[in-house]
Amino acid sequence: MAWFKREKKGIITSTEEKKEAPDGIWNKCPNCKKPLHYAEQVENKYVCHYCGYQLRIGSKEYFSILFDDNDFTELFPNLRSGDPLEFVDTKPYKDRLEENYAKTGLNDAIRSGHGKINGQDLVIACMDFNFIGGSMGSVVGEKIARSIDYCIEHRVPFLMISKSGGARMMEAAFSLMQMAKTSAKLALLSKAKIPYISLLTDPTTGGVTASYAMLGDINISEPGALIGFAGPRVIKETIKKDLPKGFQTAEFVLEHGFLDFIVDRREMKAKLSSFLKMMAN
């Protein structure tokens, strides 16, 4: 449960909040702090029904919200990361990976699936923030690349749901080159004239913003999502000034011309399927 893991619009749940929700049934809205019931959250597409806050969710939840009857074929599910640099910081990358496999039940920070939304075929690749901060390493790049190949081969539109802190440092330059790889594949998808929708969710930053997330035929987002290239802390340190209110929110990015629209998660499926219908007819 990804929404369980952050503080006020942040990343980590405070211990206080955890204590109040020992069985995971009740959870506090990170924005308005009102208690939310699990069933209500599912019902409400993981949007706080008090304040409209879009809770941070993962691939499991997005697939269940978007695919008809939560029915889809998972693509390339077994890809796992190598450790080409034998990277060790405060702990070996290999151990970090093992911990994340155990903690999340995921194989990396992305899953991809082919299903239908309101009867229309769609491939969705969706990032999982709770796997090493949704960082982009070789698996993320490779799965996106293969999903795009799949879309070209089967002539199916592609939806990329980004949610990432950026590059995965433990894969260093390998991680960097995933930006090149995904962008090159998107050039081929574009040439094949297959629609590509990029949904940037909270948060989308760094190398992900500077590659596939910004390259949609349409770029869209959810209310309040943090979207940027450089992180707010780095910018603040660079310019030595406080950042204006609302800086790097989806609304800010829309206003500056880099998003086509912002859509509430409760309207997401309807809006996506009407776009797909227009492209198909």
Partner: protein
Amino acid sequence: MNTSFDFEKPIAELLQQIEKVKQVEEKTKVDMSATLAELQEKLESAKKEVYSNPSGWQKVQISRHPDRPYTLQYIEMICDDFIEMHGDRTVKDDKAIVGGFGSINGRTVMIIGHQKGTNTKLRQYRNFGMANPEGYRKALRLMKLAEKFNKPVVTLIDTPGAYPGLEAEERGQGEAIARNLLEMSVLKVPVLCFVVGEGASGGALGIGIGDRVYMFENTWYSVISPESCSSILWRSWDFKEKAADCLKLTSENMYSNKLIDGIIPEPLGGAHYDPAAMAETLKAKIVEDLDALCSRDIDELINERIEKFCAMGVVQEG
């Protein structure tokens, strides 16, 4: 040499000694040539010793040496003629990225590169080689211009990163870099890229998609600088040397990991010891590669370019 690093101390000391002996010779008019020759010999062997196997962090330092040549200096040295072009046609002219048509042995080439300043004032003017979105968009405009007139593109990469500023975010730094990655991967002319100094992350990659990507011997290329990596992973700036090792960011590392196509050798000690020789090596490589690539079928070349980047990454099929 004005600036020397800790590990260059033996060299700096010998250089000082040589200078002193020369002064004495000047003053006293006594012939010191034997002493000088001896010192010169010592200097050469000290250089070999010091530079034979620099660590990752040492290479990072060499790559940032303020006396290293930057893009405009290379252009001056390798081109018979050059016409600089400015502006992204939307917002402004970014001074951290320069570009224009140049003539190399009579062949017209679009040359684009990061530009750092050569003194305090110019460093500010060039924003330390950190481009804003306008810089990447100027680069793309020039690449499209080259494509239109079927001229090959050469890029020189030397940046500590794309500028992390407020306006850069407002004007879409992420989008600008992303667009370049996509467009360069299918640009219908040959593209050569050279990391001539610092190759920091997306800011470097934003002009770094090519048929051939080379690193100069004493440069670095990675997803993050060793300093920032240290501060994020170890929560302290003190692990930059360790970070430089972990990131495997040297030209040798990058080549053995098949993330670049080759290494361009530098004069002993670094490009700044002999800029003219460095430029000559660069020019020879450009000429050699363009001779080979310009006659190739462009669609085939583009396919190979895409395939090359798509092969990068290490995954396991579970």
